[in-house]
Symmetry: C2
Subunit: 406 residues, 2 copies
């Protein structure tokens, strides 16, 4: 008789966005005349850039003709894309990463979920709290997280590193030694960042204790402040301890187009085994390459036209972020993030819980956001708004915040 992976049964339900959906639907049904503005969504809304569209069309045309048709892609990604990534994202920033250390994939969610495959079950993971749920859930599926306690909303074998206003949302080195450390900067959900010096502390720590850092840099394109690292490889020694995850989802609007990559430097080793070899084997065995037309479109993001157009999109979202920051600050809220990231993280007023504030915003101002507690216990008392709405709706939402009513 076959047996299932029991670890799946230990997972708590993932009810955050479905609960939000149900509450919004109920409110809308009861108040059909109210215009609800959604600033909870973590998905882009602007269409793909013209340079990307143009390349998608020309790549489709290549697939229509025998002479230029492309069958199976190289498992690890087309050379043209890997080279372009290395030149633009790494060499241009002084990071010595080689094209064959880039593994092209269908996105950072898959990579951040699958990367656990190459590690033993008995590794202790450390995560920020609040956190993107995929890191923890996928480790739970692998049996790496112990027992879940619904009271504390924590797993027994996970090291949680609180990120609150008290530590400026930068985690402190944990007391207990982890084996695998997940870091995401600019951060989802808090929208805050880490300086190069602060990140260097983590790299030094990982090298000292023999831990590996899984560094999620999916939001690096939103960085505007000097001295905020775009890549962990800007830190000395990082090639010996860090894996970096990147995405085209937020820098070029590829959430529905799917493209990302993982960087594993060859000098990152366990004994004399390169993690690079293990991931190459995993990628080559359980994945068959991202579609040619999507990889071609990804390379178009790095053309002069593509860079200009995607920068404009980011500027559009970051203008929304500024409007939200200014609007909330003007209305007396404590506001974090939103400078180098498309997320604004605010402290709920009057000691409201995250969900109480959700209900207040929905019912009184007709604005939808995301309760901070949905991202982990230390998110309680915080709330996330995103800059991915339209300019018009963002402005309208801030007028409601100012007026204290819809």
């Amino acid at each position: 008789m076959f047996k299932i992976n029991d670890n799946y049964l230990k997972l708590p339900g993932s009810y955050l966005f479905s609960t939000i959906g149900k509450k919004v639907a109920a409110y809308t049904a009861a108040n059909p005349d109210k215009e609800v503005i959604k600033l909870g969504i973590g998905d882009v809304t602007l269409p793909l850039a013209p340079a990307v569209i143009k390349r998608l069309h020309s790549a489709v045309d290549e697939m229509a003709v025998k002479e230029t048709f492309k069958g199976y892609a190289p498992d690890l990604g087309y050379e043209f894309l890997r080279t372009t990534i290395v030149e633009n994202d790494y060499k241009a920033r002084g990071c010595d990463i080689a094209a064959d250390e880039i593994f092209v994939s269908d996105g950072a969610k898959s990579d951040s979920g699958n990367i656990g495959d190459i590690f033993a079950v008995d590794n202790k993971i450390a995560v920020c709290d609040p956190v993107y749920p995929v890191y923890v859930d996928t480790n739970a599926m692998a049996g790496r997280t112990g027992v879940y306690n619904p009271e504390t909303e924590k797993w027994s074998d996970v090291i949680y590193m609180p990120c609150t206003k008290e530590n400026n949302f930068v985690p402190e080195l944990p007391k207990e030694e982890p084996d695998i450390i997940y870091l995401c900067f600019p951060n989802n959900p808090t929208g805050t960042t880490i300086t190069k010096d602060q990140l260097q502390v983590w790299v030094d720590y990982a090298l000292k204790i023999g831990a590996v850092i899984i560094y999620d840099a999916a939001y690096e394109a939103y960085i505007s402040t000097e001295n905020i690292p775009h890549s962990i490889y800007e830190c000395e020694g990082a090639k010996g301890c860090a894996i970096e995850l990147r995405s085209f989802s937020k820098n070029a609007g590829f959430t529905g187009t799917r493209l990302g990559f993982t960087v594993i430097p060859k000098e990152l080793k366990c004994g004399d085994v390169m993690l690079h070899s293990l991931w190459a084997r995993r990628h080559g065995t359980k994945f068959n390459g991202a579609p040619y037309i999507i990889q071609a479109a990804g390379a178009a993001v790095y053309t002069d036209e593509g860079k200009k157009e995607t920068k404009e999109q980011i500027a559009y979202y970051m203008n929304n972020a500024k409007i939200i920051r200014d609007g909330l600050t003007g209305a007396g809220y404590e506001v974090y993030g939103g400078v180098d990231a498309p997320y604004i993280w605010l402290k709920t007023p009057d000691k409201m819980t995250s969900w109480e504030f959700f209900d207040y915003l929905l019912e009184n101002l007709n604005i939808v956001g995301t309760p901070g507690s949905g991202f982990g216990p230390s998110g309680e008392g915080y709330f996330r708004l995103t800059a991915f709405g339209s300019l018009e709706n963002t402005k309208k939402a801030m007028e409601r915040i100012k007026a204290g009513k819809a």
Copy 2:
């Protein structure tokens, strides 16, 4: 100190296609005037069908405009595609599969590799021998296969089911009881099939012993013979014991476009846990949907135009298959497969090993194929040719076979 997944270190190198590549490169370098014909490749060569190209272009146009732009896809696939699949691939064949039992993915390789995630490590797997290597390798990565013996080329904890001319390439029920049974029909690499009655025996057996069948039907579009099942759900009771994997790679030339799906009926359970729920959780946590434009193109395969055009492509390949079968038979070879599948499996002549025959074909006839032993020990003494070349090259290769020289 972090620890790696040691199971990866037990994997033997996957040298089949790289050894072939090296041998061909060496021969070509030494004989630059010779025209080498490649019939080893398992990849399609015809361009995408016009109906697919047309839909790709229109979907790209949708992504260019704010009003029709698509962000994150539904985790489990767009409703329009899931419904189309169900109508055409299942209801039309009398299989009662629901749209929400279809999980759209980026291909059957990913799915056949990832499906192991939802099962416990201590399940015993059974595979055909010869076999598509992904089934075994991904189970080895999960620690499910025991120790590899390089002498026998077998894992200690895997049940191998020989498929040779003696059993007409249909495996016999194993003596030792497996928990998970991998079956692929029409088969890669042997190109042979199984009748509905023969498959019913497997379904009945799985139901009796409480095993789950992972049924890879990636080549079902090549079936022309009556009474060969296109889906395992044509067998009675299969919804209680079988997961089916499908692909757009070979029926519509999507090898470089990437689209597939897995079917998990809700009545397939372990105790009271639906495998459907586990896979939904896995898919939703470690995957972010196939690209919208690719899913739209996938639906175009099922339009009248799309069906007509992809049928013509399959007819083109199957005409090649007939030419190869006839050519080989006429030259006195023992030939199998190639009737309901794009693969032709032949017995090497004069007791040559698979690799000896490879060298003979390359050096004397300048034809490249794939040694059967590369797919497992019972493939020794067999050889695979594929129908995916051009008509011209296929004919030319058979002229060389007939003449016994290039």
